[in-house]
Symmetry: C2
Subunit: 220 residues, 2 copies
Amino acid sequence: MNHYPVTVDSVIFGYSKGELMVALIERERDPFKGMWAIPGGFMEGEETAEETARRELQEETGLADIFLEQFHVFSSHGRDPRGRTITVAFFALINSDSKELFATEDAWQAKWWPAYKIPPLAFGQDEMYSCALKALRNHVKTGPIAFELLPKEFTLTELQKLYEQLFNIEIDTRNFRRKVAKVGYIVPTGKKQAGLKHRPALLYSFDPKLYDEFSKESFF
Amino acid sequence: MNHYPVTVDSVIFGYSKGELMVALIERERDPFKGMWAIPGGFMEGEETAEETARRELQEETGLADIFLEQFHVFSSHGRDPRGRTITVAFFALINSDSKELFATEDAWQAKWWPAYKIPPLAFGQDEMYSCALKALRNHVKTGPIAFELLPKEFTLTELQKLYEQLFNIEIDTRNFRRKVAKVGYIVPTGKKQAGLKHRPALLYSFDPKLYDEFSKESFF
DNA sequence: CCAAAAGTGTTCTTTATACACCCATGT
DNA sequence: ACATGGGTGTATAAAGAACACTTTTGG
């Protein structure tokens, strides 16, 4: 019965000014010194993989209570030249880009990158990243998780642009709003934006209880 | 940097006489002696998780070259009283129920169970199992993998019943066949069933090349 | 000719798509 | 008054859902 070191990597997605973003760290040390990488770290003690992910996220972004979902295990050898690891990969969604990132141990710096314009990644993580994007899209299609990328109150334009970013498509505003109205769980808060130089948008929020009601019977 | 034992469990689905089946083993030894469980085993040496799964499947079903897809990692402690493990779970699809199952080391016997009438499972694997079912449904919806559960040549009635089993629904035959005709990648082989006491059905097969052509642009 | 499963069309409802102008606010 | 993004309706096409009888084979 062999024992293996287990690492947990988290592809952290954010959303800022209509652009899908991802948090990467620049490696301070070899291997892959100077390259960018998906943040992660070793599983320790009695932690579950998710606990490891939360601890690492806390250390790297100062964030707690964020959406996390595992999407794949990478177990091939040759990814880390220092030795073979089993890597559990998560994606994280955070609801504001205003969160600053902190550099940690191995990292020279941490930075938000536009999700579709990232540099080549260390440890052959490019595959992991494209896998994360696919998993994110999949989950967005099957569950109400897009809201995790938005502030609690958001405009419909923000929501629409988020979907456009996620799937690289253009959506017609009127059709989009009709759909929003029909699903029933995206509700106006009654508030408006303020202090901008154009017509203020109404603010909406996602209602999880209504979501449960509306989508109870809709499976297939 | 802690090291952990890694196990790979495979939920093996089959399909027999219009019923979705799953392969379980009866434990010969404690812990959970006499209970049924999802087959699995330890990752060894330089294997990847998928290689471990294939080796175990070979040992337990004598099958090679079958469809395998990982769906979740279970890392909570307390699942195995002998000690904490990290478990990578796969589901496997095999294209015939005529395959016999062999008992191995820890197993008293291995048996096909109707997928919706299984006994309580050892190691708290009930959650793993329901997770596997969900993952299977998800994948069937997004990719052409249902065919992995059928022989290479199948009748449309078999295909329809498979979908009905998978999603616990009833499908109208005429609507179903119209849809099959439209997708274009389920093609008649020109052959017929023979030797039954009713009208013989035409045999069809899945054409992966046509699938690629037809579904190239259909994403969203 | 009977049993048993295979195969086949039409109507209606719902959902998706395409498309262009007026509105509210700050300067 | 103008610049900026917010907000709205209608018509057409496509997809999904409901529904019952005839056909081919073996015995």
